[in-house]
Every structure is written in C-alpha cells, then in structure tokens.
Subunit: 206 residues, 2 copies
C-alpha cells in the first residue's frame, strides 16, 4: 500500500515536471514569436515613417523654394517706378518662407532619429521625441500654410468691403507660384498627421 | 535502498510545489503593484486631460463667439451707405467662426471618451482615438487662427506694395475684438499640443 502510493508519487512529479517544462518552452516560443512579430510590424512602421519624412522634406523644400523664388516684373514701367511683385512684399509670405524652411530643417534633423526607430523598433524614447516634435512642428507648418493661403485668397479675389483690390490680375505668374507653394506646404501637413499617427501606434502597448 | 529513494522522491515534489507556489504569489503581488502604480499615474494624466479639454472648450467657444459678435458701426453715414464692419465681411473670418465652432464641438464630444480614460486608465483604444482626432483637429484650429491672424495683421498695418490700406484706424473696436478671438484660438493650440503629448505618454509601454 505504502509502496504503491510512493510509486504513484514518483510517477506524478516526473509527469508534472515534463508537462511544466513543456509549457515553459511553449510559452517562451510564443513570447519570442510575439516579440518578433511586434518588432517586425513596428520596424515596418518605422521604415514607412522614414520614407514619409523624406517625401515631406521634398514637399516643404519645394514649398519654401518656390515661394522664395516667386517674383514677377511687369513688362511696362513708368519713369520712376517698375512694377514688380516679390515674396518679401508681403510679411506673411516672408513668414511662410522662414517657417517652412524651419520645418524642412527639422525633418532633415529627424531622419537620424527615424533611423534609430528602424534599428531598434521597440525603443520608446525616440518614438516619443519624434511624436512631440512632430506635433509642435505641424502647427508651425499649418500656421504658415494657412496664413499664406488667406493672403493668396485675398490676392486672387480681393475684398470689396475693405477696398482691398485683387493683384493677381496683374501678377498672374506670381500668384500661380505662390499658390503652388501653399499647396505643397498643405500636402506636408497631411504627411505630418500620418507621421504622428504612426508614432502613436508604434508607442502603444502591443 | 528502493524505499529510501522513493522517500526522497516524495520529499522533493512537495518542496518544489511549495517554492513554486511561493514564487507565483510573489510575482502576482509584484504585477498587481506595478499595474496599480502605472494605472494611478495614467489616471492622473487622464484627469489632467479632462480638465485641459474643459479649458480648451472655454477658449475655443470664447474665440468663436467673440469673432461672431464682432461688429462696429461708425457714427457717421452717407445718404446711401452706413459704414459697418462685420465678421462676415471677410471670408477668412467666416472660416474662423465655423472652424473654431467645429473644434469646440469636437472637444465637447471628446469629453465622454476622456472620462472613459479616467475610469479605465490602461485602455489603449480610447487614448488612440483621442490622439488621432486631436491631431486632425489641431490643424483645423491652427489653420483658422493663422489665417485670421494674417488678415488681422493686414487690417492693422495694411500693405503698401499691394495698396491694401489698414482698416483698423476706422474700425478700432472691431479689430480689437477680432484680435482677442485670434489670441483665444491660439491659446487653444497650446492646449491641444499638451493634450497630444499626454495621450502619447499614456499610450507608451510603462
């Protein structure tokens, strides 16, 4: 009786040990697979983030340069005056050139951090840094684009109530270039929104 | 010999069971403490988030209402014309009123989700929803504020190059109100930036 019971006891622990070790191995494997797939999807996001940044640099650089170089000289002039439109005739356009150039510089500087997130897809700090600075910079980008858009609208349509006459009838090419710059900067806003959402998804607990 | 070995075998499993159960209890306690402290700081963030939203509602409502009610009638008039300035004289100000009203409505609708994050501070989905919509809405808010600011600047200073004369010399009170609205909307931008950063910190793995 006693022998039987001990035999049973001997049997039990060995099976328990086996099964528990089996479970441990299984869970370890599962954990490894989960970590790898989580890291993989996060790395995919990080690569997409990097590519978006490069595209956004192209958009903001285009916006800033097109606005900076936008000028038009009318083919007629008086004895004292030559009619010329330039980006620095309007303070809002000056602000646009400076602000969008700052945004492009920030994007350039953020590329190394984006590369860090590709190399270490599960690191939290670089993601958080990118998200916070992206949020601040997108407001600068939006402010520049919206302010310039308001002035471009005025230049196209004028305003009867305030007696501000449209200038685009004379300076059509200038207005065309300035509008292009505003559109390019607006496209960059959408890139930034996607960048922020990518960072948020990469930050969240899997 | 056989009896001894079985006795030892009986002894081993009991100690193993004891120690393993001890470890499990310890880890459970540890996990519970970690969850409680993480949840506590996240709940604090969620409450701060809620209060910021209420303040941002106040700021955006103020901005929208002040702009909407901004008008000034000059004390002199001709036979055909009464000189009056109104927010809907300028399309940018109309856009401002509508956009900032949308922002205020969104903030109001986001309050229940913010309450969910207070009740369930470790829930990921409501945080992610708030962060994504906050990001989209902050660009709308910034666009409205920046466009109105550009026009207010023009109303104050005019522009010699385009022959747009300042109107604030005549409509001083109107310009004052419009400027107040722009400042209130700009304050809301800062609230939004803090809200997005809060959501990001709450989302990240502890």
């Amino acid at each position: 009786m006693a022998k039987e019971s001990t035999t049973i006891d001997v049997g039990e622990p060995s099976t328990v040990t086996k099964s528990s070790s089996h479970v441990v191995v299984k869970e370890k494997k599962k954990g490894f697979v989960a970590a790898a797939s989580g890291g993989g999807s996060k790395r995919g996001l990080a690569i997409f983030d990097f590519l978006l940044r490069v595209t956004a640099i192209a958009a903001t650089l285009t916006a800033s340069i097109v606005m900076f170089t936008a000028q038009e000289t009318l083919p007629f002039f008086t004895q004292f005056l030559q009619f010329q439109a330039n980006y620095d005739d309007l303070p809002t356009f000056q602000f646009f050139v400076i602000a969008v150039a700052i945004v492009a510089s920030y994007l350039l500087l953020s590329l190394p951090i984006s590369i860090v997130t590709i190399v270490r897809p599960r690191a939290v700090a670089p993601r958080l840094i990118l998200l916070i600075f992206d949020t601040v910079v997108v407001t600068l980008n939006t402010a520049a684009a919206a302010a310039a858009a308001a002035i471009v609208y005025l230049a196209h349509n004028g305003n009867q109530n305030t007696n501000w006459l449209p200038i685009c009838q004379q300076f059509g090419d200038f207005c065309q270039n300035v509008s292009t710059a505003v559109v390019a900067a607006s496209i960059a806003i959408f890139f930034f929104i996607i960048l922020i959402i990518i960072s948020a998804i990469a930050l969240k607990r899997p």
